[in-house]
């Protein structure tokens, strides 16, 4: 098992009780699930509950995952969204975009779900990038650094940084093709 192992293969192994596969999936998707929890609930502690519940459910229910009925990430997204709603109920929080009073809004619930699904898929794609590619993307988007600044920071020629950035963005663009909303 390695960084190349697909999410679907990991879920199949987890369904057979493989702890190593579970740890690998956790390393890959805990960040994107935490980010989703934070966006939906606006609360860091609640987001931790979401991540904990999501992965507990993944562990318990992975054997029921059927690749013919949907993509692995869509399945995890659905679990995480349900976990966020359960956490919201428990903590008496409002789920951003979910309450019925927003239904008339231009960005109604289903549209918000679609947007969150897209964000989750892109985050998962970032988390699955090779470390060197992920590094330049995170420094550019979250660190706010220019290409020149990134080159100086990680001590790599500017041309190399640019190539990594271009390749990484092309890979991320492909992740959009995999977005499924249920």
């Amino acid at each position: 098992m390695s960084a190349d192992t697909t999410d679907g293969e990991l879920l199949a192994r987890i369904g057979r009780g493989d702890e190593e596969a579970f740890t690998l999936l956790w390393r890959r998707l805990s960040g994107p699930v935490l980010a989703l929890g934070r966006r939906m609930l606006g609360d860091d502690a609640a987001a931790e509950d979401v991540a904990q519940d999501t992965f507990a459910t993944i562990w318990r229910a992975a054997a029921t995952f059927d690749p013919e009925r949907g993509a692995p990430l869509a399945w995890v997204f659905t679990i995480a969204r349900n976990a966020a709603r359960d956490t919201a109920r428990r903590r008496r929080l409002t789920v951003v975009g979910e309450p019925p009073e927003l239904a008339d809004d231009a960005d109604g619930p289903s549209e918000i779900v679609a947007i969150e699904s897209e964000r989750f898929h892109v985050h998962a794609a970032v988390a699955s990038l090779a470390p060197r590619a992920r590094e330049v993307i995170e420094l550019a988007y979250y660190g706010g650094l220019t290409q020149v600044e990134i080159a100086a920071r990680i001590d790599v020629p500017l041309g190399t940084v640019k190539t990594r950035t271009r390749n990484a963005l092309a890979l991320l663009a492909r992740s959009l093709d995999r977005v499924e909303v249920r």
């Binding site: 369904g15 009780g17 702890e19 579970f22 740890t23 956790w26 805990s30 960040g31 994107p32 935490l34 980010a35 934070r38 966006r39 987001a47 931790e48 991540a51 904990q52 519940d53 992965f55 507990a56 459910t57 562990w59 318990r60 229910a61 054997a63 029921t64 995952f65 059927d66 009925r69 949907g70 399945w75 659905t78 679990i79 349900n82 976990a83 359960d86 109920r89 428990r90 897209e118 964000r119 892109v122 985050h123 970032v126 988390a127 993307i137 995170e138 988007y141 979250y142 220019t146 290409q147 020149v148 640019k162 950035t165 271009r166 963005l169 092309a170 991320l172 663009a173 959009l176 249920r182």
Partner: protein
Amino acid sequence: MIEHDEARLLLADLIVPGLSDPGRGAALRAHVAVCGSCRQDVGELQRIDEIMREAGPIPEPSADLEARVLDAVIAAARRPAPTRLWSNLTALRVAAAGALTLAATAGVAALMDGSGGGFRPDTSKALAGSPDWRGATGTLAVGTLRGSPAIRIELQGVPGPATGATYQVWVGTREARIALGMIEPDSAGHAEAVLPLPTGAVGFPGLWVTNEPDDGDPAWTRDWIVRSTA
């Protein structure tokens, strides 16, 4: 002018400031203006750029959270053997307090297996409805899901849970039982869930679906909806 084969590798230059080499931007834009395929790719890159800005950074889970999740799951994987499971209520309470072993959701089970897809029943029997839940009936099938022990529960005539409450599926004995997950009826009062059986729960003597207030108390209430007892 830049040819398509070269241009398509440089499209991110139109999105990320500072990525384009000096003097290349104009030639690249000229190509994209006449190339539908590149225009479409630029559109996708634009969307990624927006999402990256809107979605915010990816948090790193704290060491504490990671330990909590991985330890709890590994502990759940090494559950005690069946005989001990049913006789050791304390251990079950500990497991219940962790909530991790209990967290299967009807949403998931119903989503993936709402039509029982993949579930193979071996035996099936009717569930008895509680006098307090007039009209509630159900069927329990015991079998396998892709080779692993599982049950399928179907409910009829059960209204959806009140706000803040959930319907929980339990197996075991009256004295010692574990929660397998939740089940949620649709507006027609019908519910179906396929739930995997932990190794220790195979051959369970009884099954209950109860109405549980979402009060954080892992113990069960006496408010059962349907049941099957030996």
